[in-house]
Amino acid sequence: METAAAPTVGRSNTAAAWRRFRRSSSGVFGLIVVALLLLTAVLAPVLAPYDPHSTSRAAFAPPLAPGHFLGTDNLGRDVLSQVIWGSRVSLMVGLAAAATATLIGVLVGALAGYLGGWFDELLMRITEFFQVIPRFVLALIVVAFFGSGLVNLILVIGLLSWPQTARLVRSQYLSHKTLPYVDAGRALGMRKFRIMFLQILPNAMGPVLVVASLDVAQAILLEASLGFFGLGDPNLTSWGGMLNTAQTFIRRAWWMSVFPGFGITLAVLGFNLFGDGLTEAYDPRMAPR
């Protein structure tokens, strides 16, 4: 079976992946959404017409009210500005948490998959332990105890999201370590860690990126859920936090919930579709012909 030449990562391979990605219309749509969100987050201070924390006597102004395109909330804060600033927290938590999860996942998966033996057993039991913990419940408890600063949120979500990546990376390593190019490396006297991270890792990264992009979506959702339950950082404007305030006023001011809700939907959808596109790009068997 595995007599094929070692896959190499080079310009041609990346180019082929990009070509396949472009053919996936949902992937391209996801990429555009993600790019726009990133742009919004980076340019928030320029784009937002008001400071998101700035209150006023003009509470509950409906959308299209003069000066407030998406209306104002219960404290007279501009909803549009809050939605724009909210994208920062969502994306920052999403990306940083997914990066944390990927880092841990790759490390654990690579060590378990390549070294094998009792070490593999041990790491996989730990992984399973983290996998069966109800993430949301544990996140609630941790945030309730240690506070809900941005760094805490990122660490909590990141530390609870890595098992899937770890298992995926482990399976990649299990199949790659029997391939001829790995044998060749070993025969050349390369050190274990060089083989693991410089030889195998680049070849195993495709599926990892797919999972990472889905992790971003999951992390955004988890952050929003924590915020919705009032456990976000009240010093930062976040979509989940806006929803938390809005639930009390849902019948009086629908715009307080609809717009941050739309932001969350868009971000989660964007990263999911982007992930779909990546799947098609790195797994030609799934790509449309």
Binding site: A59, R77, G147, G230, P234, T245, T248
Partner: protein, 542 residues
């Protein structure tokens, strides 16, 4: 008679509202008009109605009681259930007038030092008669060591004695005006001595399945879900009209008002009311609503005078000028309040001074605040605002304060914390600003003196600001010992003058109480505390 000082407080409170001594916000006025109109419509109808017996009412609680023993806790849900299971010596009618509960009558000696109570013939729910020994045991062994407010009263008491089975004599160290209002079921419930004797009252199993002598008997408690109490057919006063009351625990704000709207529950008190939902409930033809003043509750922002910067009175004054308390009332409290008027609020006429009214003395004036900060040489101040994360109004007030303090160059960092953590932090001094709400029964002595009197850090719910002024301490003691209100007013005047200048505490607002109930529920608020007197509830036939 004995209790003129007590009876007076409530009418004064009510009239103070009507005379417009408060600057009413438009929403308050609208609400008042609405209530007035509702009264006009309701009175003739109510007059024709005669109470009928039977039925089950569902009352909403926002959180599960920790236990049901009112004698060892001032917790709101504990007292809501417990007050209807236990009895006190006296109870307060809705107008603040005290009347006999377990005591059929009482006399007061001419020197105002000795109160002699005569008990009624009454039985506990297990059939044992209630005697003076139970009263003395409850007060000395259970409430004096464990009950936050009764402890305060006990400091003024020289002895509590039972000369015979039906008589209780309380002797004071010095005249103490609020004594009677501290002998209700909320502060000094009469617990069965035979159940508690020889046990630790904090861990006695009867705390979870109480045996009292009140109008209802404990029936069932499903933790986190509901507590059920049933009519006591052997009650010594008016027998309860309802067969049963179910206290349903509904932790979600929104779910509470919805439960009333869809008829799943019958009674929702202001303590658990999401202020934002009140206008909607008011417009619902199937729901009756009420707003007004019962037990005055004050919302304070404590300023930690040990924080560098905040030790300067000018900086604290700057904070007073920088925060628009009217906006906090309107937006964070949904209009259900009146911007704070003084250290003891507007509820006690003798403790209020027009000349030091915070609203005229410290109007919203960011420029003045900046000038004061500059004068004090303080800049770049960063302050932590610690509050109970479960209180939505505190969070909203924090959002407003953060915005307004930023205008004058103070950076406010919001730090919500779970209640137990918050209490621990605030009362050990680990905060800069914090928002707290206090009630004070029928007298400022009961709840508010502790906020201003010098105290060592570490005791929950007493002075947390680190502010200490021997003059204030002495005046508070003198004002608390006098029965004559004019004499008390003199001391409160001095206190108000000093505190208005030193402002260790920003009084945010006086809360207006509210209530929503299903359209055919009657008999609410017969007694002063909304939670008390549920035996008067009944359903009008539809």
């Amino acid at each position: 008679m004995i209790d003129s000082s007590q009876g007076d407080t409530a009418p004064l409170r009510a009239s103070s509202l009507v005379k417009g001594r408060f600057q009413m916000t438009w929403s308050t006025v609208k609400r008042a008009l609405f209530v007035f109109a509702a009264l006009l419509l309701a009175v003739p109808a109510a007059a024709q109605e005669t109470p009928v017996k039977g039925g089950t009412a569902i009352v909403i609680l926002g959180s599960d009681p920790e236990h049901l023993n009112v004698g060892i806790s001032t917790s709101y849900p504990t007292a809501a259930v417990g007050a209807n299971i236990y009895s006190g010596l006296v109870r307060s009618r809705a107008d603040g007038r005290p009347e006999g509960d377990l005591a059929s009558s009482w006399t007061v000696s001419d020197d105002n030092l000795t109160y002699t109570f005569t008990l009624r013939q009454a039985n506990f729910h297990d059939g044992t008669p209630v005697t003076s020994a139970d009263v003395v045991y409850s007060m000395l062994q259970i409430e004096a060591p464990n009950h936050g407010r009764f402890k305060t009263a006990y400091d003024q008491i020289a002895s509590i004695e039972a000369p015979d089975a039906q008589t209780v004599v309380i002797t004071l160290k010095a005249p103490y005006a609020p004594l009677l209002s501290l002998l209700t079921v909320f502060d000094a419930p009469v617990l069965p001595k035979h159940v508690f004797e020889g046990t630790d009252p904090l861990t006695n199993p009867a705390n979870d399945a109480p045996i009292g002598s009140g109008p209802f008997k404990f029936a069932n408690w499903v933790r986190g879900e509901r507590v059920e109490i049933v009519r006591n057919d052997d009650y010594f006063l008016e027998e309860a009209l309802l067969d049963k009351i179910i206290f349903r625990i509904v932790p979600q704000d929104v779910a509470r008002s919805t439960a009333i709207e869809v008829g799943e529950a019958d009674l929702l008190w202001g303590f658990y009311m999401p202020p934002a939902d009140l206008p909607r409930l008011e417009s619902d033809p199937n729901v009756n609503t009420w707003t007004g003043i019962t037990i005055p509750a004050l919302y304070f922002v404590f300023i930690n005078t040990n924080t560098p910067g905040l030790d300067d009175a000018r900086v604290r004054q700057a904070i007073m000028y920088a925060v628009d308390r009217e906006q906090v009332v309107d937006q964070a409290q949904g209009g259900l309040g009146q911007a704070g008027s003084g250290p003891f609020g507007g509820g006690f006429a003798y403790a209020y001074d027009e000349s030091t009214d915070f609203r005229t003395r410290y109007p919203y004036d960011p420029e003045k605040a900046k000038a004061l900060l500059a004068e004090a040489g303080v800049s770049g101040l960063q302050l932590r605002f610690v509050y109970d994360s479960a209180r939505g109004a505190f969070a909203a007030a924090g959002d407003i304060m953060r915005d307004q303090l930023r205008q004058v160059g103070i950076d406010l960092v919001l730090q919500p914390a779970e209640r137990a953590v918050m209490v621990d932090r605030v009362y050990s001094g680990d905060y800069d600003l914090t928002m707290q709400s206090f009630t004070s029964g029928g007298d400022p002595t009961i709840g508010y003196h502790r906020i201003y009197r010098s105290a060592a850090p570490g005791t929950p719910f007493v002075n947390a600001t680190g502010y200490s002024n021997p003059d204030i301490d002495a005046w508070l003691d003198q004002a608390g010992g006098l029965a004559d209100q004019d004499a008390r007013a003199e001391y409160y005047g001095k206190i108000n003058e000093v505190l208005a200048n030193d402002v260790p505490v920003m009084v945010m607002f006086d809360e207006l109480a509210s209530e929503a109930s299903s359209g055919n529920l009657r008999g609410m608020r017969t007694l002063l505390d909304q939670r008390d007197g549920l035996e008067f509830l009944w359903f009008a036939p539809r």
